[in-house]
């Protein structure tokens, strides 16, 4: 009798184990930047994909960082497709954290702008980090340059930048009078780095740091800051969806760059992931996304589908190209870890 009970218990335990095994069979997990941007992606890409293929997608969001990718790649597979910034793409590919893509499925490399093509990633948007402020607070004399951002006498109040060295150092040098085409040449020298940190140091007491792209519009809306760096699309989305009157100072100078879709090397659903990336890269999907949030498409044939009034809000287009600085991928791949360490020490002191 007792032995039978033990056997029954063991059986129950086994079936419980088997049940968890079944529960672990997961759906394709797609990871992006959250907030208004991911809402737009859901409408333009995720939902249509699920309708067209009948497959399910699970969403997650993150705030970037090569370390987060490394951590995901070391553990059991939980993320499949991730949207990353350029330096994460290059480092991740080099380290074997990402998987090479099948460019046949993506329609061939020549359909894309050259910066969007990489062994392990396909560019999906052109986006910019810009200087933004609330138009309702500055009726007469709005900030026009990064020098104004660093001028706390004329424009008192707190301001916000993205936590970390990326873009912050570029903006600091812009404010210090370095012309756009010289920024990275200056940053490549130790004196240039010192100069950028010194400039940041000059307003350290009035600086707060954001991490998620959804934060800058909130900080502007709550009046916590008078101006902030922000992703251009989030500013447009806040105006469109929440009736705000936020403005972008394009002429102050902005840093624009390309985000890419990548597939993690430890994904156990690589084929499905590749199908998703191919779907998301279709010209009609890229154009649909740009209509919802003004980030530029990376496919040449998607740009042609956009009406001119949408194109005007998109970074890197003729209307505002002269103010844009293209993010130097090689510089940041080489220096991001060292400068992040330096930045953390500086910010915490």
């Amino acid at each position: 009798m007792r032995r039978r009970l033990v056997a029954a218990l063991a059986l129950a335990g086994l079936s419980a184990l088997a049940a968890t095994g079944v529960a672990q069979a997961r759906d394709l997990t797609v990871v992006s930047w959250g907030g208004a941007y991911q809402d737009a992606q859901r409408k333009a890409i995720f939902d249509p994909y699920m309708q067209e293929t009948g497959r399910k997608i699970v969403e997650d969001s993150w705030n970037g960082g090569i370390g987060a990718l490394r951590a995901k790649a070391e553990g059991p597979p939980t993320w499949d497709v991730v949207q990353v910034e350029t330096d994460e793409l290059v480092l991740g590919c080099e380290e074997g954290v990402l998987t090479p893509l099948d460019w046949e499925k993506l329609g061939g490399k020549d359909r894309y702008i050259p910066e969007a093509v990489h062994e392990c990633g396909v560019g999906n948007i052109v986006w910019a980090t810009v200087l933004a402020y609330d138009g309702d607070r500055f009726r007469d004399d709005p900030p026009k340059s990064w020098a104004d951002f660093f001028d706390t006498k004329t424009y008192p109040g707190q301001r916000a930048l993205r936590r970390g060295p990326r873009q912050a150092l570029e903006f600091a040098l812009m404010a210090d009078g370095v012309p756009l085409d010289r920024i990275y040449a200056v940053l490549r020298t130790p004196e240039g780095i010192e100069r950028a940190f010194r400039k940041l140091d000059s307003i350290k007491g009035d600086l707060i740091w954001w991490e998620a792209g959804a934060q800058p519009p909130q900080l502007l809306a709550s009046g916590e800051v008078v101006m902030t760096s922000a992703y251009n699309g989030r500013i447009s989305a806040a105006n469109r969806n929440e009736g705000r009157n936020f403005r972008i100072a394009w002429q102050a100078g902005y840093v624009y760059q390309i985000d890419s879709w990548v597939i993690l090397a430890n994904s156990d659903r690589k084929d499905e992931a590749m199908d998703f990336v191919a779907f998301a890269s279709r010209p009609d999907r890229q154009a649909a996304l740009a209509m919802l949030i003004p980030y530029g498409p990376t496919r040449v044939d998607a740009a042609e589908l956009l009406p001119p009034e949408v194109a005007a809000d998109i970074p890197g287009t003729p209307a505002n190209r002269q103010y844009g600085l293209f993010f130097d991928r090689d510089f940041w791949v080489e220096h991001v870890e060292k400068l992040t360490e330096r930045f953390n020490a500086w910010a915490a002191q």
Binding site: E224, E337, N344, A345, W346
Partner: protein, 410 residues
């Protein structure tokens, strides 16, 4: 058969045996707890202490060079056979895409070595062995720098003090001596000091608010005391995140608090609270207050009113009666509350992360940064170990001064 009455020594033995059995059974009942503590508390802590000095990255990616570097005595540049072996393994590891792990580890020794190793590996993978120092120097002249080879030799050892030193703002110089890191990179001693300072301020604030509150609670008639108690416990049961988020709303620049103060005319422009230190103090004090009130209250309940009455009837003023009689009797609760709040506050992460700015982060923020953002387990473990040891030392000091037997945890 007739029962035989036991003789005296026999009885004593049986009583002893019975007691032993009972003690064993009682101990058996604590076994699950002991096993739980061992698996989920003791082992992870030992694992963390080990990670803080673990040095396996090079041994796993470049096993043969690691052996060779361990036999090399150091100083200058290693002999040609070790250089050749090292270069061959770099090329192999590049092809296997496993080089990044070693490169990342080496970069902790000195920033910049990561790209040196990766670039060299990439170039070597396309070249033909054997390799000499000149081949390496042709790719990058840094390979002639003895400091680089000294760093590799340190990475090859079975254990490392790198992370523990770094967590104390120390490092090895080129000759292997332990020196302070340059001031622009020194942060962790400051952060450790800040962590203890914030915990101390929060503990003090909790005590100042909590003691009178507990006194009121203990002396109100039952019915009102219950109501007030719910007022203490309700926030205690509310999610930490909800309370923290609520403080962001209340304390923000155009939030209710600033508007109230401006309306009252106490300030003429809004105070900067959220993302600054005051918000951290306010939110943490609010979150931790119940941990102060409950132990003090439970001790105060046991103080019989006749003690104070006796003091008063013997001619003491109310203040003297409180100071000489009531306060000493309530001290066990006060020490328990302070210890609880202080130690909980030391490990706080989410509240300062949400309401504080970059200069208000406590040591946990950096532990999270190293585990989640850069995946530098060594650094995270070293910071964690230092926090653990500092807390233990403080606890022992406290036990020594106050006496642990006087603690009453509710």
């Amino acid at each position: 058969m007739e029962a035989v009455a036991p003789t005296a020594p026999d009885l004593a033995r049986r009583v002893r045996a019975g007691e032993r059995r009972r003690r064993l059974a009682a101990f058996g009942l604590t076994l699950p707890l002991c096993a739980f503590l061992l698996v989920f508390f003791v082992l992870p802590i030992l694992g963390m202490l080990r990670l803080a000095v673990s040095n396996t990255e090079m041994a796993e990616t470049l096993p043969r060079s690691t052996e060779a570097f361990r036999t090399w005595e150091g100083g200058g540049v290693p002999p040609p056979d070790i250089v050749d072996l090292f270069a061959r393994e770099l090329a192999e590891a590049h092809r296997a895409r496993s080089l990044a792990r070693f490169a990342t580890r080496l970069n902790y020794e000195e920033a910049g070595l990561r790209s040196l190793v990766l670039n060299t590996g990439r170039r070597l993978a396309r070249a033909q062995p054997p390799f000499s120092l000149d081949d390496l120097a042709a790719i990058d002249p840094s390979w002639r720098d003895p400091g680089v080879w000294a760093a590799i030799r340190r990475a090859a050892q079975p254990w490392t003090d790198l992370y523990v030193l770094a967590a104390l703002d120390l490092q090895h110089d080129a000759e292997g001596r332990i020196v302070r890191v340059p001031p622009e990179r020194a942060i962790y001693l400051d952060i450790l000091g800040r962590t203890f300072r914030i915990a101390a301020v929060v503990t003090l604030a909790c005590l100042v608010i909590g003691y009178p509150l507990a006194y009121t609670l203990a002396h109100l008639p039952e019915r009102h005391a219950h109501l007030l108690m719910i007022g203490v416990l309700l926030p205690f049961w509310t999610s930490l995140l909800v309370r923290t988020a609520a403080w962001i709303v209340i304390l923000q620049r155009e939030g209710p608090l600033n508007e109230l103060l401006q309306w009252l005319g106490l300030i003429d422009r809004p105070l900067e609270l959220v993302f600054h230190r005051p918000a951290v103090y306010i939110a943490m004090t609010h979150v931790l207050l119940p941990f102060m009130v409950l132990p003090i209250y439970s001790v105060m309940r046991t103080i019989h009113p006749s003690y104070v009455r006796a003091a008063l009837s013997l001619g003491a003023t109310p203040w003297t009666a409180f100071r000489r009689v009531y306060l000493p009797l309530s001290l066990p609760g006060v020490s328990a509350g302070c210890l609880l709040v202080f130690i909980l506050a030391l490990g706080y992460y989410i509240t300062p992360a949400l309401v504080g700015g970059a200069t208000d982060q406590m040591i946990s923020w950096f532990i999270a940064f190293y585990t989640l953002q850069t995946v530098n387990w060594g650094m995270a473990a070293a910071l964690g170990s230092i926090l653990l040891l500092a807390t233990l030392a403080l606890y022992l000091l406290f036990a020594r001064v106050v006496g642990i037997e006087r603690l009453r945890l509710a």
